[in-house]
């Protein structure tokens, strides 16, 4: 028998005897012969562990690990060694959703701590236990706003990450809801355009800060204006930056959403990440997904349980807030450990150094005379410039030096012709940044 199948032939015989049958095939006698498989799968034969290792070692040779100067929603921040050591503990890794609280306090407690940290960063009242990723948490946030206001239209800022916009659009389209875009002016959310468009038809507006270009937006008066029409403000943010920038609560946002990838997760070719979703107390029953709450056990001991489950699909079925079932629990553990390690000061320091590194690069690029800033907006770790140098040339030259990014935004949309985006986290050294500058200076 195979290493993951413990039965011996004698075990199987004994079990068949108990069942009073002579072969496993008899257990499938109710299945029509017409559909029963006649042949083995057309797949490879089993591999030894050494062969499996060799196979992936040969595949990884076709990947090129690069020094990353690109962000656009996925950030190459430092990951402390503690995270992997702890998240690989089987008690966390191999358990299921904590439906039996008596033997799941480990999971439930870190979810409670995760919710507490998201609460602290966003400043809003309540966070759920996490969503799949930033884009789906934004789509669910839009549904929440529609649900709360009983409206079927929403305003979307054009400065959201295009991936997020696309996912929101797909969700809205199938739900048969509608949207209108709010224009960008000089690379940021155009408050005037928003004010012209906002009306009682719209559930509210979703904005992103820092936005897709990396720029910091100003939402002075936006929430109040939306609230006048009984609409909501949804703020989407790369959560790490909230340690320094105005929190959603200070912007009077009703819902905060976005990706937590920047809090200790690898870039991982796009996933798994996790989305966060937080809101004000008034809207807690509109929140999708799992929520963990404090309680006590029969002896009065502090305990945690999944709660308000009447919002969820396994109880409410077609009347549930959302169809979401699992969260991204293990990734919420990554985030909780990361934030425990970095704490109040470390997270600020990460953003501080990212700020310094990116501003150094920015100034040096402007000095080359080959890159121009048409926007003149504040930024924290990511910025967008214009250049007349061919983007293919840039990309090729950088790749030769094992560097990825600046990223040419016209790969994403024709509207962004000649725009190029750079991101510099705290991980990048002066040597790496100077090398990037050096390569770019040599181009024309």
């Amino acid at each position: 028998m195979f290493k993951y199948f413990p039965h011996t032939k004698a075990d199987v015989d004994q079990m068949l005897k108990t069942l009073n049958i002579s072969s496993i095939d008899e257990l499938f006698s109710q299945i029509s012969k017409k559909v029963l498989l006649k042949n083995e799968y057309d797949l490879k034969s089993e591999m030894s562990e050494m062969e499996v290792r060799d196979y992936f070692k040969s595949l990884e040779k076709n990947n090129q690990e690069l020094v990353i100067f690109s962000g656009l929603g996925v950030y190459d921040h430092y990951q402390p060694s503690v995270i992997n050591a702890l998240t690989s503990r089987q008690e966390f890794l191999t358990s299921y959703t904590p439906y039996q609280p008596e033997i799941s306090q480990g999971t439930l407690q870190y979810i409670f701590e995760y919710q507490s940290m998201i609460q602290a960063l966003t400043g809003l009242d309540v966070s759920n236990a996490s969503m799949y990723d930033g884009s789906t948490s934004a789509a669910e946030a839009c549904f929440m706003a529609c649900n709360a206001s009983r409206r079927k239209k929403i305003l979307i800022s054009e400065t959201l990450n295009p991936n997020t916009i696309e996912v929101i659009k797909t969700y809205l389209k199938f739900k048969e809801y509608d949207f209108e875009m709010v224009a960008n002016k000089d690379g940021v959310f155009d408050v005037e355009d928003f004010k012209n468009k906002m009306s009682k038809e719209y559930a509210g507006v979703i904005v992103q800060n820092p936005n897709f270009f990396g720029f910091i937006e100003d939402y002075e008066g936006v929430a109040d204006f939306a609230h006048e029409f009984k609409g909501l403000l949804i703020q989407n943010s790369d959560i790490s930056t909230l340690s320094l920038l105005k929190s959603p609560a200070e912007n009077k946002a009703d819902i905060a959403c976005g990706d937590c990838q920047s809090l200790g997760l690898p870039v991982a070719f796009g996933g798994p990440y996790l989305g966060y979703l937080a809101t004000i107390k008034k809207l807690v029953r509109k929140l999708p997904g799992r929520i963990c709450g404090y309680t006590t056990d029969t002896s009065g001991k502090r305990s945690f349980v999944l709660t308000l489950q009447a919002r969820e699909q396994h109880i409410r079925r077609s009347k549930a807030n959302s169809n979401i079932c699992s969260n991204q629990s293990l990734l919420a553990l990554y985030v909780t450990i990361y934030m425990s390690l970095m704490g109040k000061k470390g997270l600020v320091e990460v953003n501080n150094q990212s700020y310094q590194n990116s501003h150094y690069l920015y100034e040096r690029l402007i000095k080359t005379g080959k890159f121009f800033d048409n926007f003149n907006q504040p930024f924290i770790k990511e910025f967008t410039l214009e250049t007349s140098i061919s983007h293919d040339l840039i990309s090729e030259a950088l790749l030769k030096s094992n560097i990825f990014g600046g990223f040419s935004l016209n790969q994403i949309s024709d509207r962004y012709e000649n725009l190029i985006n750079f991101c510099v986290t705290e991980k990048r050294t002066k040597t790496e940044i100077d090398k990037l500058i050096n390569v770019l200076e040599g181009l024309s």
């Binding site: 195979f2 039965h7 006698s29 109710q30 029509s32 559909v35 029963l36 799968y41 797949l43 490879k44 591999m47 562990e49 499996v52 595949l59 990884e60 076709n62 090129q64 690069l66 690109s70 656009l72 992997n84 503990r89 008690e91 890794l93 191999t94 033997i103 799941s104 306090q105 940290m117 602290a120 966070s127 990723d133 930033g134 990450n161 991936n163 199938f174 320094l244 070719f269 796009g270 996933g271 709450g293 404090y294 969820e312 699909q313 409410r316 079925r317 959302s322 169809n323 079932c325 699992s326 629990s329 990734l331 553990l333 390690l341 970095m342 704490g343 953003n351 310094q356 790749l399 990223f407």
Partner: protein, 489 residues
């Protein structure tokens, strides 16, 4: 005394657990951001590295994992999560690739995606898969979007009703509504299967299709499956296969061959990727070839020996930022290669043997509502001889005292005291026999000492919890908790 601290309670101003390099460019000052800066205090803990490591180690001990003991959670397929899957993720460079990197620098990563797509197609009998959906429920939603888009592409905007049996997972009706469609629920017959007459009575030109899991949530194979798919197809609808129970079919039947047009697969169930305390999973969606064009963007394709990323015009759209939970996909491919075709062919058989063995061994003590062959899981409806009316919940809680995880309880909804047991193929006969002995012992205790069950569990880190208090007080963060404690004082 077991450990009972929150990370916030270990905090002391001035402690730190991080080490960053010295700033290279201190001349730039973030305070220049002025009005954009946060004024709100940031309440995150300040602890040392050892504080942090001990904290999470200690709370992990209050958890039960597959490696702790038997985990017969029905419908969840809690099979062994092989260590090599984890090693491949940690010891290769896939995790360090940025999703926007040029395709020439991620050929290995794209090949993993492509190979897994192909393997899933072969195993399920469907032409093409997208691995982008993040979880089972997400896969359902994306599958339904494909269904809706297909009808719309034929100019048919009226077909918006989805037939769902009353035994279905709660995600099926929930996903239908999120997709802007309408649920038509049909009943089951006395053998726990789709009632063909009920099905016929709801078929009309407004039906978009039907969602079905087979074996169904009672663990029973839908014998009339070919007739069901034919009826729905003849009425112009499509068949959706909920892959939650796919493990039972490995090596035996393929959803595509039974007439299903669209399906999702839970990689975290059938393909051994760890459940992670509730995610990340991954929910690839597969379709017959006439639906390929509707799969979500981005797509991964191969031309000669080169892999590339494509975006199609007729797609339902984008439903994820990138390529799904990529590292979960990497684990699933590791599993498929490790087993190879020979061993993948065995899974359904062994899983089914184990479930039938448990069913036969326990049917004298637990009430078996449908005494028939089952597939990979069996469903009882509470204790059989039960003079003290001990509930299924009490049986489940008592199991925890014996060092085993509880089965799924109170699902499917068809039975009031449902106990759903799924042993999977990775459990030994000794473990299964121990479970059977414990269940029999509990049945005996229920007769002799019912209070023992009602108070259970007694040997776990905490006893039963006050769920009403949790829902009423709504304490969801450390801040809420402090407010509550202060209000009490």
């Amino acid at each position: 005394m077991s450990y009972d601290k929150l990370i916030f309670e270990l905090s002391k101003p001035g402690r730190q657990a991080f080490s960053l390099k010295k700033p290279s460019f201190p001349e730039y000052d973030v305070l220049d951001l002025g009005k954009h800066l946060r004024k709100l205090e940031l309440n995150l803990p300040e602890v040392s590295e050892l504080d942090c490591v001990r904290h999470f180690t200690n709370i992990s001990k209050k958890n039960f994992g597959v490696e702790t003991g038997f985990y017969p959670l029905g419908s969840c397929t809690m099979k062994y999560n092989p260590k090599i899957n984890e090693e491949i993720v940690s010891n290769t460079n896939f995790k360090n690739l940025h999703p926007y990197q040029p395709v020439s620098t991620v050929q290995g990563a794209l090949e993993v995606y492509y190979e897994l797509q192909k393997a899933l197609s072969e195993i399920s009998g469907l032409a093409e898969f997208s691995l982008n959906p993040y979880a089972g429920a997400h896969g359902e939603l994306i599958g339904l979007m494909v269904m809706k888009k297909y009808h719309q592409s034929k100019g048919n905007f009226k077909r918006k009703k989805v037939i769902i049996p009353d035994s279905a997972h709660g995600t099926n009706p929930a996903s239908t509504v999120v997709c802007g469609m309408e649920v038509v629920e049909i009943g089951s017959n006395e053998r726990g299967m789709v009632d063909l007459e009920s099905l016929k009575s709801v078929l009309n030109d407004e039906i978009a299709g039907m969602m079905l899991t087979n074996p169904n949530t009672l663990g029973i194979f839908e014998e009339d499956i070919c007739e069901i798919t034919k009826l729905v197809h003849d009425a112009g609808g499509l068949m959706y296969y909920d892959g939650a129970n796919l493990n039972a079919l490995l090596g035996k039947v393929r959803p595509g061959d039974m007439g299903f047009d669209i399906m999702h697969i839970n990689l975290h169930k059938t393909f051994s990727t760890p459940h992670g305390g509730g995610g990340p999973g991954d929910g690839p969606v597969g379709v017959k070839s006439f639906l390929s064009e509707f799969l979500p963007n981005p797509r991964i394709r191969k031309l000669d020996d080169y892999f590339y990323i494509a975006n199609e015009a007729d797609t339902i759209g984008q439903i994820s930022s990138f390529f799904g939970n990529y590292l979960v996909e990497l684990r699933a491919l590791t599993y498929i290669l490790t087993l190879g075709k020979e061993n993948l062919m065995q899974i359904g058989g062994i899983a089914t043997l184990n479930a039938n063995y448990i069913k036969e061994s326990l049917k004298d003590d637990f009430y078996l509502p449908i005494d028939d062959l089952c597939m990979h899981e069996c469903v009882f409806d509470g204790l059989k001889d039960n003079p003290h009316e001990v509930r299924t919940l009490d049986v489940a809680k008592r199991l925890l005292d014996y060092g085993m995880h509880a089965p799924t309880i109170y699902f499917p909804l068809l039975f009031h005291q449902a106990i759903m047991i799924e042993p999977t193929e990775t459990e030994s006969l000794q473990t299964i026999n121990e479970f059977i002995d414990v269940m029999k012992q509990i049945a005996k205790e229920a007769k002799e000492n019912p209070e023992l069950l009602r108070k259970a569990p007694l040997n776990t880190p905490i006893s039963r919890t006050d769920e009403v208090f949790a829902a009423k007080k709504m304490i969801f963060s450390y801040k809420d908790y402090l407010d509550y404690i202060n209000s009490k004082e």
